[in-house]
Symmetry: C2
Subunit: 463 residues, 2 copies
């Protein structure tokens, strides 16, 4: 960036909203990946008009601009890899409206996901998508990444809850997509095109999100298995039973060992898998269905199988699942955290293949995640400072990705491609489809300034 | 089309798959709109490779090509308004796979919607989208139009069930989008961009569709109201109660009068509205929830309020709803059939405004539809041969559209824009968004041969 660019952007941002101070630049250099790319300046977003002017100035001066919400992304989507400025949207935290009559909310992008949930709950509604980061991730980021989470097996993902968007194009033009009506088929679906575009097509400024009536009750169960295949058989049986759990979580033996070391829950050291099932709905159904789930878990070989009789007990059953993230670093200092997903019928085979990769690459690999929708988190633990371990960890990533694609799956169920998976995404995306994606990027961002070189691989990355 | 174009397309189509016979051309000149635009030739689609060659020939010779499934569209999406050829996909009727383990089906575009439902039912699954045309519309058309239907209030629309697509671009390139995994966030969402694009971006050749476990039971209720506001108040109360009906249908007084005249159901001649509620789920919940629904309908002023005790009774309760289409032509020979949708909270006001339009334009207007998702069918009955009636009918359409947009709604909840609403769509679509849509059309179809001048308004139409 030359002085002219700094000046143009500073002027567009308005007094007090643009800084080049090293301290602020360092604060916006990193995200949850831990990677470090300091921007050359930081703009504090104030409102639609101001963002429009800032974007126009970035396009006019050819300055890369990276929109950023809470900075909680784990694939590097908010990192300013090409320099330029970060557009900080975290201050836009207004919940403009929650309408029980319309069953929808209108929010600014900086609203923290859990904040919307709490506010909706108070009115008898809830916002179903529930990424693990919901206490600190922002809704703008959720939409940009099409965040998933625990509840997708029953309620779907962020995409299914975005009704309309107001956004700013890289050239500064403000536009809106979608409709506040639940059904709308007028024009091409630009709303869903923006969802999951990882901040590369437009800056999301206002989101209309669908809410749902709060379920009446919940019920939580767990089953521990000393045989991995028994656990995946139970998952299959459960899904074929017609019951639709709100969460159906899986943890493998490596995960459980780490959790036990960290949280001392008294888990069986021979445990090769644990399933956690949560149901929601009217209480009389939960009684019958939770008995049914307990029956399926026991019949498949689960022992012990537990059912929470109170909220406190449910909390205890959830403890293993919730301890995973902090427990991981008990195993090794470095983690490669992938989130492949496969068609439901191939989950058992994918779990078996991950076990083989663990043996082949001689590294602790913890596998857990959302068995109910086929989305597995694969944490490849190692010491990145040891070149041999690092090399084997990267080989393990390639193994896991190859297996996921071979089984009809995807490299990422919910984290996005961002920066970290750019080198792999070309193996999944159809080449003609990729060509169309490049065309779409060029259409929205002809100057190539908006979060450049993210989300979709470019020739220079592919080669 | 000159001889060279006919020859190139005929050769690409292969022996016996291309015809210029007047009889066949006439057979493909019309759809459910009744409008008449004979194509210059008809290609019978055989497989992906053949369609790829045909499309390349159309692009090379600049020949308009209109993909057509069952021809049941009611906005003219399959009409060859610019001449050229129709690509007849109705013969591609293979259900390639139904996988209970994956909870998905893979189908060719010509499969009739109800055929997939029946086949899925036999395996304990169902395909939730249920357009009124499901007995004769094709899945390719459903996806192209993002078909809605009765069950959208609980289960969403076609868009929510399309996981992956194989398609052919106008230049003949074959590509695939999406993933067979339930969650996938790799690349821009081209799948959802194709859904609802009304056959203007690519030819859909293979669809991977999500299925769901069949609900255990169903329960049907009706309530008749002599006061319109009481009926819309009941809808509001029902939606706020937390109950999620699978169908929540509304019929106004004009609709009921036509139905009575046609089907002699013994409906109260003073009835100003009828609500039909269907619940599905586990039987023990249905018992309680259907009592709750009956309570809400009665409290709002419904009389009589009925609850079906058997499948035969449910059939009887559904009879009024199912008689609407044939009953309409008892009122007048011509119908303008619109399907606006508004945010749920504005439904009552929209219904009131439609009543005012009926009084103002002095025409019988029957209003019915999917109250649970805010989607209303507005049938403006008239005699098109009478210029004064026709003029008033068109003015009524403008009134209804203006009111829908004023109330935050949309011109079409499920029918699409096609040809019939091109002149109106510009009032809904944001001009910058429209500009992006034109860019997307140009990206997918630079030669402008694929179903030209449909779905989104072009400058020559807007002016």
């Amino acid at each position: 960036m030359d002085n002219q660019a700094h000046q143009a952007i500073s002027q567009a941002a308005g007094p007090g909203n643009y800084t080049r101070s090293p301290k602020t630049r360092m604060a916006f250099a990193s995200d949850a990946t831990g990677r470090f790319f300091p921007p050359e300046g930081v703009v504090r977003a104030r409102d639609m008009e101001q963002v429009s002017k800032v974007m126009a100035a970035c396009t006019a001066t050819g300055t890369p601009v990276v929109p950023r919400g809470a900075g909680s992304g784990i694939t590097g989507g908010a990192l300013p890899v090409d320099g330029g400025v970060v557009l900080d949207l975290a201050g836009l935290t207004e919940i403009i409206r929650i309408s029980p009559e319309d069953q929808q909310a209108i929010v600014q992008p900086g609203v923290i996901t859990a904040e919307l949930s709490a506010r909706a709950n108070a009115q008898g509604l809830f916002y179903p998508p529930d990424p693990a980061s919901s206490n600190f991730s922002s809704l703008g980021g959720n939409v940009a990444e099409n965040a998933g989470g625990l509840t997708a097996v029953k309620y779907g993902v962020t995409r299914d809850y975005v009704m309309a968007v107001k956004a700013v194009l890289p050239d500064g033009r403000i536009f809106k997509t979608g409709s506040r009506a639940i059904k709308s088929v007028v024009g091409y679906d630009l709303t869903r095109l923006l969802v999951g575009s990882e901040g590369t097509l437009a800056v999301l400024m206002e989101l209309t999100l669908k809410l749902m009536p709060l379920p009446e009750a919940k019920s939580t169960m767990t089953g521990v298995f000393t045989d991995l295949d028994q656990a995946t058989a139970a998952v299959k049986e459960l899904l074929l039973s017609g019951i639709r759990p709100v969460a159906l979580e899986f943890m493998d033996g490596g995960t459980l060992k780490a959790v036990e070391k960290y949280a001392h829950l008294g888990l069986d050291p021979k445990a090769e898998a644990m399933l956690l099932v949560e149901l929601d709905g009217p209480p009389e159904v939960l009684n019958r269905q939770s008995d049914q789930v307990v029956g399926i878990l026991k019949k498949a070989g689960g022992s012990p199988v537990e059912k929470a009789a109170s909220e406190a007990e449910a909390d205890r059953l959830w403890k293993a699942r919730r301890s995973i993230s902090p427990a991981m670093f008990q195993i090794a200092p470095s983690k490669l955290n992938e989130d492949i997903a496969v068609p439901l019928g191939n989950l058992a085979e994918m779990v078996r293949r991950i076990k083989k990769t663990r043996e082949k690459r001689k590294l602790p690999i913890a596998c857990f995640g959302h068995a109910g929708d086929g989305n597995l988190h694969v944490n490849i633990m190692h010491d990145a400072a040891d070149p041999d371990q690092r090399a084997r960890a990267l080989e393990a990533v390639s193994d896991v990705f190859a297996d996921a694609l071979h089984l009809g799956g995807t490299l990422s169920g919910e984290h996005g491609v961002g920066l970290n998976k750019l080198g792999y995404a070309g193996a999944e995306i159809d080449p003609v489809a990729l060509d169309l994606m490049h065309g779409i990027k060029k259409l929205f961002d002809p100057a190539g300034v908006l979060n450049p070189h993210k989300a979709i691989p470019y020739p220079e990355i592919l080669s």
